[in-house]
Assembly symmetry: C2
Homo-oligomer: 459 residues x 2
């Protein structure tokens, strides 16, 4: 906040200046005290709340927009702590789908973007993010590339990280896979962790399956969060060790049900939140975003106010955001008006002080952003011909190894399949969902990599 | 943490390196989940915890010190969030009195030091603080001088503040008196608030008596905490608005009893802590430090584990400390071993990974620090003679105004007293506790200021 904005906030709270927006007669879900407070008024100036409870009548000016909440619940906007947007959506599409559902802040990974477009690509994404009508923050990729021995992409230098860490929209370091941290970490990784620590940026963890001494070691390295527990016992072990636990419930996995029993094991929920870890467009369209998670948590027996805390203040705390995730003076004016608390369906969403959505429809738009040319011409492919996709073999049939992914566990298995050879080339059997796959290096620096895929259901 | 320290932490947690210190068989007070966990082991490397719960046997090396807690409670070291040390104690004396009682982190105001010695004085204090065997952090004075229209001290410039804010041991801005923020704040104050905000440094508040729209305005300016509520209603109003409330219980006032009823009004205590706001040496010697506050809180009906949270994790959260106030990997290794939880009397205190006190006695010392000469020669007095202290008057007696301070409310009242005149000078009546006072300007730039004091009990 600049000095003038601070002065405006003070004067509006006192009624010496008109508020931009006043919401009257709401039932405040107070995430600090875990209370429901009927008859609460809220005043907004610029992009911040300036007064809650007592609004001087003089703050209601001629230009002040007034919304009567008519007793409905006032919830802070939801905060998504762990997701992957950049490889699935253009931001304006994402915003259109999530903001009307009450999500006003998103922290997203950009590892894939870093891999394909490098530092400049992430900076372009940040430029696009700043033009959106909601609060979009980014974690710097922890390992870029994730597997340097398998990839040819130009790695990020510490100087690149330093550049990112000075950007106010970089709010942490993205998920670190625990074996990379725990099993003989390389010097560059340690230097990155140290640099992030110096910048007070929290390190996000990917601790799938880590336990006992390995989990201790992972956390001792400075890892602050984990979105990977899939049982109540795993969540409990992590919470006890001080990790911010983000229960994952999205398109990749749905872990809320498996983890829910943790609610009866602890007496303090401050480090527990819920995140999607990424959603497909069909899930967003047909089900929803964090609103779905809220409904499911309540259905599983979480207290409704605790559920709001998990989706707001607790989520903000995982990144040390001191002015996000609550309806209070000085906090970013992100709010949703919800008729039935446990329904989590806002009829009005306010983001950064502006009415952003009404009855499920976006009412404001961001600025358009055009990616620079380098980002649009990033595929440097070797010439591809029909020959590129052939898999030559002799005889009339061959026995080959195929990859069978398990959608539930995300683990891939080996499957031995027998395939016909036609005209000197192996033929896949799409009728049985045995497919040929080809991995094409976008940098044009390596040969194609080919194989067979089984059991996906794709024909 | 530097890269090597991170590597050491990881390897010790895994048992590839020996720990420096292991505590076995404690009953962990887990401040994240609010659980008591018997049979917990804890390992320390350097100044940090590296493992809790599972300690590989290989981490117990020949040089590893092992302390058997024998079932006693393991509490995080206490965190003092608001106090004034510099004008009462030399730090080594303070440390000697508080560290054996379980206080391992102190955040102190240095307003008085800033007034008398300026920026260089605060920097000298920081140098002394860094040499102590406990964690001492400092808030930059918010108003220096507090009342520029009444004082001649050289004010801090924004550049001075910028210098302070870059010091890692400056963790916030000290208490801002609410009328100075709310009633037409001057441009320099607003610029200071803005600068602190840019540096992510929390602003401490002094909101005595502020309520409703004035409290909103105070918080809207970015104030993050208040240690001034004296009733449960005041504490509740502040908690609901998102302030970190530090219940004051020290030498100036004892507010725990007056505020305690707030515990039955809220369901979430995360923003509630307890602090002294300053203690005299006699209180420290005869009663104690934060240990007293813990005992009193429990006696007043606070849950013992909640009480530990208020004195540790909640206190750390008020400053956004992400690695303080809990016993968990990566956290600063500050711990106390307490035989009876509600007694809060540690028989062993570990600070920054070292055994710092046993059975009430300090077992380690800080480095000695000698203040630079300018700090020792800071009184620039005009020549003082007997004449300086005379209060001439005619006649045999006079009626004068005296200042009567109220120790309970800290408010001063006017009292009209009649005093004898002897040899042409007014004579105080110490038998009736009517005293003469003289204020001497330490900069030698103004005349003496004199008056009379009544009702202090001093003779």
């Amino acid at each position: 906040m600049n000095p003038d904005a601070i002065r405006q906030s003070i004067h509006t709270a006192l009624g010496k200046k008109p508020a931009d927006l006043i919401i009257t007669n709401g039932t405040l879900v107070n995430v600090f005290t875990a209370e429901l407070l009927p008859g609460t008024d809220v005043a907004i100036k610029g992009n911040r709340f300036v007064a809650v409870g007592t609004i001087p009548s003089a703050a209601r000016g001629n230009e002040t927009r007034v919304i009567d909440a008519d007793g409905a619940f006032l919830l802070p906007g939801f905060v998504e702590t762990h997701t992957h947007i950049a490889n699935v959506f253009r931001l304006h599409d994402f915003v259109r789908l999530v903001l009307p559902r009450g999500t006003t802040t998103v922290v997203t990974e950009v590892t894939e973007l870093g891999n394909s477009l490098g530092l400049a690509g992430i900076q372009a994404f940040l430029a696009e993010a700043r033009r959106q009508p909601m609060n979009i923050k980014v974690t710097a990729p922890c390992f870029s590339p994730p597997y340097p021995e398998m990839e040819t992409v130009h790695p990020f230098s510490l100087a690149d990280y330093e550049t990112l860490f000075r950007d106010p929209d970089i709010v942490g370091v993205g998920e670190a896979y625990w074996p990379r941290i725990v099993n003989n970490p390389d010097q560059k990784t340690l230097e990155l962790l140290s640099l992030a620590w110096q910048h007070h940026l929290p390190l996000q963890g990917h601790g799938a399956g880590a336990r006992r001494e390995k989990l201790n070691a992972f956390i001792a390295a400075g890892i602050a969060s984990d979105h990977e527990p899939i049982t109540a016992a795993e969540a409990l072990e992590r919470l006890r060790l001080g990790l911010f636990v983000m229960i994952r419930e999205g398109s990749i996995r749905q872990d809320l049900e498996g983890v829910a029993a943790v609610k009866d094991m602890i007496r303090d929920f401050r480090r527990l939140s819920i995140s999607t870890d990424g959603v497909t467009s069909s899930r967003l369209l047909n089900q929803g975003h964090l609103d779905v998670l809220g409904r499911k948590a309540v259905a599983l027996g979480f207290d409704p106010v605790t559920t709001v805390q998990m989706l707001t203040l607790n989520a903000a705390a995982a990144f040390g955001f001191s002015d996000l995730g609550a309806i209070a003076p000085h906090f970013r004016a992100d709010l949703q008006i919800v008729a039935h608390l446990e329904d989590f369906t806002p009829h009005t969403v306010i983001a950064g002080g502006r009415v952003a959505a009404e009855r499920g429809k976006l009412t404001i738009a961001g600025e358009e952003y055009h990616y620079p040319l380098f980002a649009c011409n990033s595929l440097n492919l070797d010439p591809l011909t029909a020959e590129s996709f052939r898999y030559p073999a002799n005889g009339s049939e061959v026995t080959v190894r195929a990859v069978r992914p398990d959608r539930q566990t995300m683990v891939t298995h080996e499957e031995i399949v027998t395939l016909p050879v036609e005209n000197g080339n192996i033929r896949p059997v799409p009728e049985e969902s045995i497919l040929k796959y080809v991995v094409i290096n976008r940098y044009g620096r390596q040969r194609l990599s080919r194989g067979f895929l089984a059991g996906t259901g794709i024909r």
